[in-house]
Subunit: 362 residues, 2 copies
């Protein structure tokens, strides 16, 4: 009997309600497998700041340190609410980035996937979706502009200025490239390398290291694309992509564009993998405007659980079952409000009803 | 009789063939108005490097210095070809960025526009296009990561690294904000401010200055959106946007996404405005793969001429006529290869036929 400790951080906004559905799934998986999950709830995000004065309180750090895996809901407040918290204590700078750094979760996997049968969810025409979109973005998560030095001040002319640094060294690039090449090697053997080497020197180094690593994966074909061209092609012809690798900020933008082409960020789970620790989270924000209304889509949160089962616990079959159960609910014609606009033909169900249906299917 | 000097830089790849069509339009406008255009051809881009050893040769600088306006085709080579030129002499670093800096063309206007009648060009469903897309991105063009200090070296651990700086001061932000607010004030009085203030300190300053400038434009409503959310919403609901303002790198990516939602980067002209000099260029690259085949879309190049007529010469009516002529060719069911895929119902015509038809309409 395996026993796993899981830190559960529901987060802010819609976090608690979608986490509740993810936990339902987790309990069912526990019941029917030779495994126990010890769930350890912890405060993280604005909730942590308001209760403990710290978005990533020491208690939470202790819990995460002990955990075999961490599952995390979205965090953050509305633009206006955020301003009530000192900039460096805000949930993103005060909790999320410190967690990524603490556990060196440098490899962020963001699947962008929509079977042909769900093409109606997408804002793209069916002929663009073709046989379905099934790509995965591999985003470097602990380098670049996010973690470089930041200098804020007033210059000699009396002008306020900011300088912040985009930093990468070859090791950081190499380790994310190995993830990308391995993934590509196990899939269609094509890797799209996203860069901006015509402007950024960091991309020049990025591409150099990519070419070095490529020699270890002779079966994988590399296609180099400028980040701006990638943004065009994700709209015009997303099915040409299988595995895409990119630095931190590019990954932030393109992966949200990925949510756009699927029809909802609610379809974007993710895995944040380090060599020693991993955490799992939806790619989207905490959507304060719809929080507490039982209308948010728990797909990305439940999908994050599926990724945890696969990557942290090696429960590949159960992960597949969870994906299949969610697709099954969609196939039956049900979805939450984000994907059941009037006229779409999709029957609208609540957050918890979606979770219940997934559990039923399972 | 007004006399304008215009530097004509055809550029690389498809540049010469689309520039030829733009010049046809320019000649016609000259014929029927009380104006003369003195066209001064100049080498710029890879062609400059190969002929003169410099992508932005001194002769070209002199011509541009004298010119009342500059019209520029796309530049650049394929990924593989680029490598034959030393990094700092490549067309982007050796010509384009130096030109932007030389003439301080900080305000880059990129219209993303598709009338309802051309919704079939777009990969988006007709219900997403609704009454048509008609937004304009205002991109800061001479700051940020593009022009910050770049440090390349080997660190104490013997690792290759790069550090490059994203820099803004309050004046740089203020001047682009005035452009954006003025534009918004003359349009729908809504300005979407694109930022990433939950991570970047430069965005914190950006938003601060935006709020200060906003007090001078009380009629304009500001909506703040994170850059990643903007990438989602440009796919899900682009018609909510009218004027969007953003820093340099964000503008590079989102504007190409803009080309994606229209159906082709060939629909993306742009104006690069400084306080003293302006130049005009398509937003897309030089497409070496289709160069010389007479199949490229000259819309973005002719549209750039229209923007020059409007912004540099105040010929607002003629600019409108040029737009209308191009829309007329589309309305007659014709387009170049990018927008006339088999089955689309659009009749395919060549680059020069497109130009001829525009001239006919005019
Ligand atoms: C909340 C924010 C800091 C975060 C990021 O920018 O990485 C989010 O947008 C994401 O993509 O995970
Ligand atoms: C060619 C390149 C340097 C340029 C940029 O990144 O600004 C282009 O992509 C653009 O958008 O004008």
């Amino acid at each position: 009997m395996k026993n796993y400790k899981i830190a559960i951080m529901a987060g802010d906004g819609i976090g608690p309600e979608i986490m509740q559905e993810a936990v339902k799934v987790l309990k069912l998986v526990e019941e029917r497998n030779d495994v126990t999950f010890e769930l350890m709830p912890a405060l993280f995000g604005a909730c942590g700041y308001f209760e403990k004065g710290d978005a990533f309180p020491q208690e939470t750090k202790d819990i995460c340190d002990q955990a075999d895996a961490i599952i995390k809901g979205p965090i953050g407040l509305s633009h206006e609410e955020s301003k009530k918290i000192p900039i460096d204590k805000q949930p993103e700078r005060g909790a999320l980035l410190p967690m990524r750094r603490r556990y060196k979760t440098y490899a962020n996997y963001r699947p962008v996937s929509l079977p042909q049968s769900l093409a109606h969810f997408s804002p793209l025409k069916p002929e663009i979706i073709g046989d379905g979109i099934d790509l995965i973005m591999v985003r470097e998560l602990v380098g670049g502009l996010y973690f470089g030095n930041k200098e804020v001040g007033v210059n000699d002319d009396g002008l306020r200025y900011v300088k912040e640094t985009l930093e990468y060294d070859e090791n950081q690039i190499r380790q994310i490239m190995h993830h990308a090449f391995k993934l590509a090697s196990g899939r269609k053997k094509v890797l799209h390398n996203i860069h901006k080497s015509n402007v950024l020197k960091s991309s020049v180094l990025w591409n150099e290291v990519m070419e070095e690593v490529a020699t270890e994966y002779p079966d994988v074909k590399v296609i180099n694309i400028l980040v701006d061209a990638a943004a065009t092609l994700l709209c015009l012809n997303p099915t040409q992509f299988d595995v895409m690798v990119m630095e931190n900020m590019f990954g932030d933008i393109l992966s949200d564009q990925g949510g756009g082409i699927l029809g909802s960020l609610g379809l974007m789970p993710s895995a944040c993998l380090g060599d020693e620790k991993a955490y799992y989270e939806p790619s989207h924000g905490s959507a304060p405007d719809i929080a507490g209304k039982n209308i948010a889509n728990p797909y990305s949160m439940i999908g994050s659980v599926a990724m945890m089962l696969e990557y942290s616990f090696g429960m590949v079959e159960e992960a597949k079952n969870v994906w299949a159960a969610m697709q099954g609910v969609f196939a039956d014609g049900f979805s939450t409000a984000d994907l059941s606009k009037p006229g779409s033909g999709v029957k609208m169900i609540s957050t918890d009803a979606f979770g219940d249906k997934v559990v039923e299917k399972l």
